[in-house]
């Protein structure tokens, strides 16, 4: 499987309050509240760290879950967040300016 890279979409407003990450789409003002896994993914989505490394170092250390299962779930989650334009995904690393807030 090819490496997958995830980057935060700079065109959303994001804020953490009481440990809950809230994100608002600039496109249609839709408000999203991320669950714990999605929050870890969002916070780790620097555009240059491959998704499998995020899963290995941030998700598998937080939850009791097999790496392969966690990777599949994380990829599905990343694609869902990308469909809402919260994250961007690519098979190549993102240039530094495009992936950080």
């Amino acid at each position: 499987m090819n490496k997958l890279f995830v980057a935060r979409n700079p065109r959303v407003a994001a804020r953490s309050l009481d440990g809950e990450m809230m994100i608002m789409s600039a496109r249609d003002s839709t408000l999203f509240t991320l669950n714990k896994t999605a929050t870890i993914l969002w916070q780790s989505a620097d555009g240059t760290t491959p998704l499998d490394e995020i899963v290995q170092n941030r998700i598998c250390t937080e939850f009791e879950v097999e790496r392969e299962v966690a990777l599949q779930d994380a990829e599905a989650l990343a694609r869902e967040l990308a469909s809402h334009e919260i994250l961007q995904i690519s098979e190549h690393p993102f240039p530094p300016a495009g992936g950080s807030r």
């Binding site: 065109r11 407003a13 804020r15 009481d18 809230m22 608002m24 789409s25 496109r27 003002s29």
Partner: protein
Amino acid sequence: MPVRVHTTDQSFLEMLQARYTGFVSVSDRVEVEFDVELDRPGVNAGDAAVEVRLQRGRWSLQRGDFRAEWEPASHRGWIRQTANPYSIDAVLRIVHSLVLAQEGGFLLHSASAIRNGRAFLFAGVSGAGKTTISRLAPPDATLLTDEISYVRKREDGYVAFGTPFTGELAKLGENVSAPIAALYLLAQGPENRIDAISPADAARSLLANTLFFAEDEQLVEAVFQSAFEFVSRVPVSRLTFVPDSRVWELIR
């Protein structure tokens, strides 16, 4: 925010003066100026979604029943609609929401009233009880609105202003203002009580009840951050109430 409206149709002007009684004045100070062009009845209709976009320094506002443009730099704009009060009312709400967003304020789906010199806001979707709690307000409470609250940010807090934007009560608010003491999220239940809610729930509810239409990244960011700023400075709780006037014993 003083708004001047130009129209060559005397009956339309009289319709607006009647609708906005208490909010109409003669003033040289104008922040927004609109020329209203009236279409023949039946030309525009429908309930199409509102579209609000900024292009080359001009806001374009559009719905099934109106088209409008507004240029903040020149303070000028135009509205094209039929001779009805609802279209221009929608345009004014949108323009106010845009101006407020840039200043850290917002329009909120909420009733509001002043009591003992302090303003209380009661937010909720349609059916949550905004009209009911407004109707139950005691004589010493001054109603600011039963539908859309006007919230401005000041250095020392937030201030609520009366608006002519009415809901089911169809009663204009008073054209006065007061510092905001609390925001209550309305729920109806078997007893009158106030419950604390988490800051995250407060911010979520505030954003859900904020009127904002523009597809504009900077303003969306501004509205988003304003909601968090507001909940960090104004107490927000859930107000469950039986529809009777005793609920106002909790609002002081």
